[in-house]
Symmetry: C2
Subunit: 315 residues, 2 copies
């Protein structure tokens, strides 16, 4: 297992600069007064392809040799990673194949295709996904880019908190949602090296709290098909992300489905931004754990904005 | 009738600086490719109290003498002006009364009260509104701040396009929605003085096209209770705003209800921002009049973001 280093983050920063946005940091005095803390929202919902995953995907794609790149990239994802890998591959002009359950939302398939990627459908089971994915790789020789358990991806995501500490002085803490742990690992990579004083928190839905239980137990616990409105956070930790979480995260906090939806609606209403349920989990946990953050300067990663506008969770 | 001047805009800029946001300008390469033009969205949905009207309201409130201010301010508005006047009065610590039909949405009443203003209800008719408003002013001696036909308000709104031309070089045109014409008048005030090369367009719903018909006829035409999803744009021009529209607007373009809702959803989906139906009218007209804007650099005023998240127009 290769653990990405600060040098990998720095290389990623240079490599992906032309392909991603330096996203803005927004604040809300109303939400600050609710939270009793100073909150700085790093808006990766404004990122290319609508999610921070454009960082890791771009780093993986633009780090390939010309020979590797010619065979293309492939992944399995029914979420933002598939869209973002398609985006990055499109920028480099190479093929991208995304294996996705045939039951995945049409909008997700359209998003991959919108950036030029190819969708290959499988049955909605792990065995079908693995079999179909193996076929794709055997046929194309494409490079597999895992959604999070990949040093290139983590080094790419790590550029987000590098920007954040350049944009906001004197942060006491940074909090990000945790699913597979790619964003949290990238945050750990950057902050443990460049700003070790800043505490790192992860936020997770109660109904998909495998990372929380892993953290408390001291080893990876994976759940079978958890159910939460924060659909980007259903996947389990893997060895590489567990390494970062175990060593650098101060605590993992959880939030109920109702608190997540309330926090999401609060952010839409007061900050006028469109973001995903997953991105609301950090604020939901802050509002339930005010003593932890009281008077602190806290960075919050708004991870993405790809939400189905016809099916909002408060309706 | 006092016509506000560039000096009034400059004074407003200094006066309101500490009370408003310098809002960001966002772009979308996807929407640019649809439009065949370079579009620069000036995001007043991120403005204090969620709308550009915080500019004009703040200029009116902070321009009062201490003696005037002590008696407070009053207006009639069931929209953003009422909320923004309450915001500005709250910042100065003076009373604010907003006369509103008892049938106005609860959220609008709550917004006024949320900033410390007082809501006085009237019947939903012009005669009741005028009678109740006269009583309020007689009792309190409050200063009336009209939503748009007021030189202080127009000078305040004019600061928006001052920022825009500082933020974006070489604009060929600026387009804003038109209701009563406060934002369009402010835009005319600033651009006709500082950047007369930039063409000014106004965008209006077909179903509330009184400004369009006024512009073509050469005199003010007011409609009785037009009906459009762009509920901020139902009010008619008045003498002061008509002065600016008549003298400085290149053209007024209109859009159907369906085109407005489509443009709104497109902006939410691709730009990840929450904005009002009124704010979508400019893009709707651009997409229907591509020949007018082809290859041009166009500033678009996103006027506000105060929308009922429980009742979105595409649902």
């Amino acid at each position: 297992m290769y653990i990405p280093t600060l040098a990998d983050m720095t290389a990623a920063e240079e490599r992906i600069r032309r392909h991603i946005h330096r996203t803005p940091v927004l604040t809300s005095s109303f939400i600050n007064s609710l939270a009793g803390a100073e909150l700085f929202f790093k808006c990766e919902n404004f990122q290319k392809a609508g999610a921070f995953k454009a960082r890791g995907a771009s780093n993986a794609v633009f780090g390939l040799s010309d020979e590797q790149a010619a065979r293309g990239v492939a992944t399995h994802s029914s979420g933002n990673h598939g869209t973002c890998l398609s985006y990055a591959a499109g920028r480099r002009g190479i093929p991208c194949t995304v294996v996705m359950p045939r039951t995945a939302p049409q909008a997700k398939k359209d998003a991959v295709r919108g950036y030029g990627g190819k969708v290959v459908e499988c049955e909605p089971s792990t065995s079908s996904r693995e079999a179909v994915f193996a076929e794709v790789v055997a046929e194309t020789g494409a490079e597999f880019v895992h959604p999070y358990n990949d040093p290139r991806v983590i080094a790419g995501q790590a550029t987000c908190s590098k920007e954040l500490i350049e944009q906001v002085d004197g942060l006491d803490a940074v909090i990000a949602p945790i699913g597979g742990g790619g964003m949290v690992s990238g945050t750990c990579l950057t902050l443990s090296n460049l700003a070790p004083r800043i505490r790192i928190y992860a936020a997770e839905p109660e109904q998909a709290d495998d990372a929380y239980r892993s953290f408390k137990a001291g080893h990876i616990i994976a759940d079978d098909a958890p159910n939460t409105v924060a659909d980007g956070l259903k996947v389990p930790l893997k060895d590489l992300t567990w390494h970062f979480v175990k060593n650098h995260v101060t605590d993992i906090l959880t939030a109920s489905e109702e608190d997540i939806v309330d926090a999401m609606k609060l952010i839409w209403k007061r900050m006028k931004i469109v973001m995903e349920p997953s991105s609301a989990v950090p604020l939901a946990t802050i509002l339930k754990n005010k003593h932890v953050f009281a008077g602190k300067r806290v960075g919050i990663i708004i991870t993405g904005g790809n939400v189905d506008l016809d099916k909002l969770p408060w309706q």
